[in-house]
């Protein structure tokens, strides 16, 4: 067999003075980077298998382990980086598409970090959220242009709305791409915090029906797990057109991950690949999309808002305008940093546009056309902290979706190996040995804690700006200033430069 040119990415550093050979690392590594040498009675490691997920480091009771970058250097070359060379070795070996997990990790500009928030000084009072009420409540759905009253009461029924206590929801992650315990954690956290989680394309497991009021059920191109009861269970329905990590690409859940439960939930035979086509084959135009939106509304008696999720791509503003006119109540836009359970590496790293620019462009376009109030905007694609949330809302979003941040709260270490199904943290796996590593009681508490912490921080930031209701910040771009951005960037973002 010809020699493989792959070399380790990481070095497992084991401090032999502290290692007690308890083999906890051996038992925890699904990639088998650690093993037990029975003859020498000691744990040995294979650096080549390490993915830097830190499971062993976290579990080692004597802190004997650390993981470092493997110190093998290629001759310095700013063009042919180690990653570029290694990718070619791999493809020369396999002849296949490079696959990866999680979001775009390339050093593109992060616009959130070039936007700064305002605060009140002298001329208007700031507000202390510990002493004064602060309102974060958010309603997602179509808002009527006018309200008519009769006898002091609303004369017409309002279109259906989703009511959020915090403007943060858990984004679409299917049962199949992540484990049932991971979904249970998010579902419970959403219920505890008065927000929503999204089923993704994986259907709704029976055990999750109890969280129906906090569930957004997704209808995607594969239509997996879609049936009348499924639609009835959810609080809202989301049509998935695209995803930030892989715009224009469908989904592929390999047969190994389709066990009995996934099979039953998705309504496909056990062990078969679940392939979601790249497009919806019944949607080739805005008019077609309108048909599906109204079919779903009809099927649920116009009681649930319908959302349409798209990836942020070049013409996103025009597309969003079309979606609003097609009758969607919510538009969800996923930026190019959005995560995934599996995507072709080149697509993930090169397709789509930053969510900050997409959001600003869409919000501006919908305002210009006078249809902004017809839809709510939900954005996702790497919201990392509460400041990102506040900036997104000031740029024009109604609420945000978090996927990667939510998984990190459950223990994800961003090793980007979701596609292998060997997630050592019990998140992106269907292996029963690994799934039980994520205790949904602990997961639910951690995910809820994250939202609770962000809720406090959002109130703190709002108070500083002298604002006591999130609604007053929505689309209030005067609260933002750009730093280190070009005029063109500032123009698209609709934001003044710092100092202006």
């Amino acid at each position: 067999m010809p020699i493989s040119l792959s070399t380790p990415n990481f070095l497992i550093d084991r401090n032999r003075e502290r290692c007690i050979n308890c083999q906890v690392c051996v038992r925890q590594c699904a990639f088998e980077a650690h093993s037990w040498d029975a003859e020498d009675e000691r744990v040995v490691t294979d650096d080549l298998k390490c993915v830097a997920c830190h499971r062993c480091v976290t579990f080692c009771p004597t802190h004997a382990l650390s993981i470092r970058r493997f110190p093998l250097e290629f001759r310095e070359n700013a063009n042919w980086t180690a990653n570029a060379i290694k990718a070619i070795y791999k493809q020369a070996e396999t002849g296949g598409i490079l696959l990866t997990g999680m979001g775009n990790d390339q050093p593109y500009p992060i616009y959130w970090d070039h936007l700064l928030l305002n605060a009140s000084q002298v001329t208007n009072p700031s507000i202390d959220p510990l002493r004064e009420p602060m309102e974060l409540k958010t309603f997602l759905g179509r808002k009527p242009d006018t309200l008519r009253f009769r006898g002091g009461k609303l004369a017409e029924k309002l279109p259906p709305q989703l009511e959020l206590e915090v403007p943060v929801m858990f984004s679409a992650m299917s049962f199949g791409s992540i484990s049932l315990n991971a979904i249970k954690s998010l579902a419970r956290a959403a219920a505890d915090m008065g927000t929503f989680y999204n089923t993704g394309e994986g259907g709704l497991h029976r055990e999750l029906y109890q969280y129906g009021e906090h569930t957004i059920v997704q209808v995607a191109s594969g239509r997996f797990g879609v049936h009348p009861e499924y639609l009835a269970q959810g609080a809202a329905i989301e049509i998935k057109i695209g995803q930030g990590a892989k715009p224009g690409i469908g989904g592929h859940l390999p047969g190994e991950k389709v066990g009995a439960e996934v099979s039953r939930t998705r309504m496909i035979p056990e062990g078969t690949d679940a392939i979601s086509p790249a497009p919806h084959h019944d949607i080739y135009s805005i008019e077609d999309l309108r048909q599906l939106i109204y079919s779903l509304k009809e099927a649920t008696r116009y009681e649930k808002p319908v959302s349409v999720k798209i990836a942020a791509v070049h013409n996103v503003a025009a597309i969003a305008s079309g979606i609003a006119r097609a009758g969607a109540d919510i538009i969800a836009i996923d930026g190019f940093r959005g995560g995934t359970g599996a995507a072709p590496l080149r697509t993930r790293d090169n397709v789509g546009i930053p969510i900050e620019l997409a959001l600003a462009a869409v919000d501006s376009r919908l305002r210009e056309e006078g249809i902004r109030s017809q839809v709510s905007l939900v954005i996702g694609g790497s919201i990392r902290n509460s400041a990102d949330v506040v900036k997104a809302i000031a740029l024009g979003a109604d609420a945000v979706y978090i996927g990667t941040a939510a998984l990190i709260s459950l223990g994800c270490h961003l090793c980007q190996k979701c596609n292998t199904g060997k997630c050592n943290w019990g998140i992106a796996t269907q292996d029963p040995n690994l799934v039980k590593r994520l205790n949904p009681d602990i997961g639910a508490e951690r995910a809820a804690n994250l939202l609770r912490a962000w809720e406090h921080e959002i109130k703190e930031l709002l108070g500083g700006m002298g604002i006591n209701a999130l609604e007053s910040l929505r689309g209030n771009r005067l609260m933002l200033r750009g730093v280190g951005l070009s005029d063109r960037d500032l123009n698209i973002l609709g934001v003044k430069a710092a100092g202006e």
Partner: protein, 153 residues
């Protein structure tokens, strides 16, 4: 009485309970590295993770109400404390005849031949006066110390 209950469905099978139990019952209960590396023979854990993957759970003495080991003990070393209900083996009186091991319906008593032959078993860390160390160190809340099984976080 409070006992240690296992929640099989979230046991990761890491055996950290075994590691920390062994340390707690070693000559260096406060120093895990010394407990394993200074002692010539490896310390013995009184909890055992039973495995038939993916099933795994930690098992230790159930501190039975009618404990057969106390009846079987030929020297009276194995006693159930009438107040706390904890079954302990007084090792100075134990002669290592293993009758308790034969009588235990759970297989929760181990042979300790690191020094003088004695039976080793879970004492619920009674001397420490806190949570049993296996419960304290379970990384996934798969062990709980409670009056009743079925307790949830």
């Amino acid at each position: 009485m409070k006992r240690v209950y296992a929640r099989e469905e979230v046991c990761a099978g890491c055996k950290l309970c075994e590691v920390h139990c062994a340390v707690a019952h070693s000559a260096y209960p406060q120093d895990i590295v010394k407990a394993f590396l200074r002692q010539k023979v490896k310390p013995i854990a009184r909890v055992l993770v039973e495995e038939n993957r993916p099933i795994s759970f930690a098992l230790q003495c159930r501190h039975c109400d009618e404990a057969p080991c106390t009846k079987a003990c030929i020297t009276g070393a194995m006693q159930k404390d009438p107040l706390t209900g904890v079954v302990t083996n007084e090792e100075t009186r134990c002669v290592g005849c293993w009758t308790c091991i034969l009588s235990c319906p759970f297989g929760a008593i181990k042979r300790d031949e690191t020094g003088r032959k004695v039976a080793a078993k879970c004492d619920l860390c009674s001397s420490a006066g806190t949570l049993p160390v296996c419960v304290q160190h379970c990384p996934n809340d798969a062990l709980v110390f409670a009056e009743e099984p079925g307790w949830r976080r």
